[in-house]
Subunit: 452 residues, 2 copies
């Protein structure tokens, strides 16, 4: 056996307790907000039937789906002499795949359970997804998505509610953000104005890249798409505006759909319930996903280089592909990995996130081990995280362990302490050590510990 | 597109909020105990390189590993004219697989991070695993494992600690259990006594099935393995004993290893810290996994038909296969699905697990919507789970929704209430309705609600 090969798979990560606890802190903040708004948790399986997933993400997306090989003699399903073509073969030897996002499985769940679900239906889902993307800095093949969606209502109050949820989460994380909002209907007006209403998605896809490629390149590509140069230039100037001036400029251009009205309504209502105006109309926002049909949103960290921390939008018909018609919805998503990096950069993880025990009970001898174990047990009863060093090795080794693990207190019981019915409490941080009466300590250990 | 095909994959499950919250209740109890003992969370990726997983679970296990197809043109790796053989092919067209358990990934993690890890190292891991088993009642292809292991110490205090963790968890769940304990060393003595010490694993595997096949069949198979009939009969009588009588009988048989001593020591120490003797020596215990070398454990629900709720044992060398030598360990595992069923059967899930909001704010008109939204927002600020009905449909429809969702209170604001600056609070459970001054309610809504 080649032992050197025992390495982690490409694009995958291990999370140590340090990382798990910090990730869980973010998740718990998001979750608490989801729950306080009446959203309930849903979990769908990691694997879906292949036909549930394919054809939903465009050709590029389909290529990134991880397919699972059939069990047993999978070659049975392949006709002899079948031409060698990966895509033909893969659909014969694989019938399941790992989920690529949480939206399509949610739609499949809704379609499967249409008779049991009361609309409006609010769910959140926090689970990993998998993409066979080329791994690079900050991009992994397995990562978590944190989504909240509500289906079954066209009311714009849902948009207001979701924006409030964004605001609450980033407030709780102490991370200053701006929420950008626009609408696919406004983009449709723009495309119409440019005479390319029939090439709407292409028009949006070009705009969506403005942050990366710059305004000149967007103008160039729009013109290539058939937009008159003058109109492209006119629009690109508006794209630079924000808020009310952007609304006015688009009105002057002759935006006739109700996209502007809707976005203004959401911003107005939101502002009534949130004093700081973190929600702003941004006509440069496009969002890539082609199932959005109404409002679209994106969250950005202020004073940070992490780009989008989340996004979402309204879709007119999520479940139609699975035969359940006329179920509109709107949802938001949080980017866990980017939020992690942004909190780390701004040093915003609370000190109370602790991945070391509070106390270590060390062993000096077989005789005292049982007494130390009893003390450690009592500490746990008092909700103190306590560890028992299992071997009677040299005290220095045990203290080194406590130090390296970042354990604050060590309980030491030697022959003297056994005889006097006391214990030594060593404070590793302050470098002090106290002899404490065993009975007093056991009665209320918290009194003697300075914990978070 | 064939829409009827949008079904869940075979052996997979969706979990609704009702189920997720109950599963999370169990997980949180287990987790709290793990953490209070100083075990830290570890997460490893869902996918491992194929060679990390294969060859670790025996031929039967290897067949159940879900393999993931390579991306892109996977057929490139297959020589033209290669004979059609599924196992040859699968190792060419697949280089990753879904984890089959949490133990091998943990060993891989330890080997990868040998320089950063301080021993003894305690980790817990609560994540899904996948097995291409034939789905049947209670057996799924994706399920959670909840494992705690400590590596780097031979001390039997670890066994005591792990047994205490079992006791604490099932105590907290209010589920009465018995923990069975034995040792592979005792089984080795038995095999030696029977003259089949060289066929030790086969001897254990036969015994392991005693609950399913009965004692007569075990005797038959032992004899077939080469055990003299008389000795098999002698042993099967001892297998029926428990606790001290079993120890005495095995001693009388000439058990010479220190397995009996170790198990007795663990039981004695455990009993000092746990008044109710839920830990009992059971010589019929064998446990299937062949890497166990010392103590082995299994938890059973009393008065229940759910069999094992968890198990574990000591292994002399977990990481040797990955080139990290001399790292002994011991671990326990909880069977989440079975614990769920046992709690459900005994009706032991706490009432406080709630998957409905406390309050629904309904809409009578555009006018009052904003006021209701404000009330709902205030409720959330006060940690009351509150939902806002997004559409101004008929009141009856909104009340029906509240009823079906199991929502306790409904806030109603009509023209009169707007004029009087009051609100109607309808108690759906008691069928009562009160008019409350808006200011009073907003100041302290909890006063008016009877919540869990």
């Amino acid at each position: 056996m080649d032992m050197a090969k025992a390495s982690i798979a490409k694009g995958m990560r291990d999370f140590t307790s340090f990382e798990v606890l910090r990730r869980e802190y973010i998740i718990s903040v998001i979750r608490n907000v989801f729950e306080s708004f009446g959203y309930g948790p849903l979990e769908t399986p990691s694997m879906e039937n292949l036909e549930t997933l394919t054809g939903k993400y465009g050709d590029e997306g389909d290529k990134l789906i991880f397919r699972v090989l059939k069990s047993g003699d999978f070659l049975k399903s392949v006709p002899e002499n079948l031409e060698r073509n990966a895509s033909t073969w893969s659909s014969l030897i694989s019938d399941k795949a790992l989920r690529y996002d949480l939206t399509v499985p949610f739609a499949r769940f809704l379609a499967n359970n249409r008779n049991d679900i009361k609309l409006p239906f609010k769910r959140f889902q926090i689970q990993p997804v998998w993409r066979a993307d080329r791994p690079q800095k900050g991009r992994f093949r397995e990562f978590y998505q944190c989504d909240a969606d509500v289906v079954g209502s066209n009311s714009l109050w849902q948009e207001v509610e979701l924006m409030q949820m964004y605001a609450r989460v980033f407030d709780a994380l102490l991370l200053p953000v701006k929420i950008r909002i626009s609408s696919r209907r406004i983009l449709a007006d723009m495309a119409e104005f440019c005479g390319v209403g029939d090439r709407f998605m292409a028009f949006c896809i070009i705009l969506d890249k403005v942050d990366k490629v710059g305004v000149e390149e967007v103008v160039r590509q729009w013109v290539e798409l058939g937009v008159p140069t003058e109109k492209a230039q006119q629009l690109i100037d508006i794209i630079a505006l924000r808020g009310e001036p952007a609304v006015e400029a688009l009105k002057a251009l002759g935006a006739t759909g109700n996209g502007l009205e809707e976005v203004s309504w959401v911003i107005e209502k939101f502002s009534k319930f949130n004093s700081d105006s973190v929600l702003e109309f941004d006509p440069s926002l496009a969002r890539g996903l082609d199932y959005y049909t109404g409002c679209i949103f994106e969250v950005e960290a202020l004073n940070s280089s992490f780009g989008s921390l989340g996004g979402g939008g309204r879709y007119a018909d999520l479940t139609g592909i699975f035969g359940l018609k006329d179920v509109p919805g709107v949802g938001i998503s949080f980017g866990l990995d980017r939020i992690f990096l942004a909190l780390e950069e701004a040093d915003l993880f609370p000190d109370s996130i602790q991945d070391a025990p509070d106390v270590l009970g060390v062993q000096l001898s077989e005789d005292s081990a049982e007494t130390v174990f009893r003390v450690v047990s009592q500490l746990r009863e008092n909700c103190v995280i306590a560890e028992f060093y299992p071997d009677a090795v040299k005290l220095k080794k045990q203290l080194d362990y406590a130090h390296q693990r970042g354990i604050r207190y060590v309980v030491i019981i030697g022959e003297n302490e056994l005889a006097n019915n006391t214990l030594q409490l060593k404070d590793m941080k302050e470098g002090e050590q106290f002899e404490i009466d065993m009975e007093d300590f056991m009665e209320n250990p918290i009194n003697y510990l300075d914990l978070n």
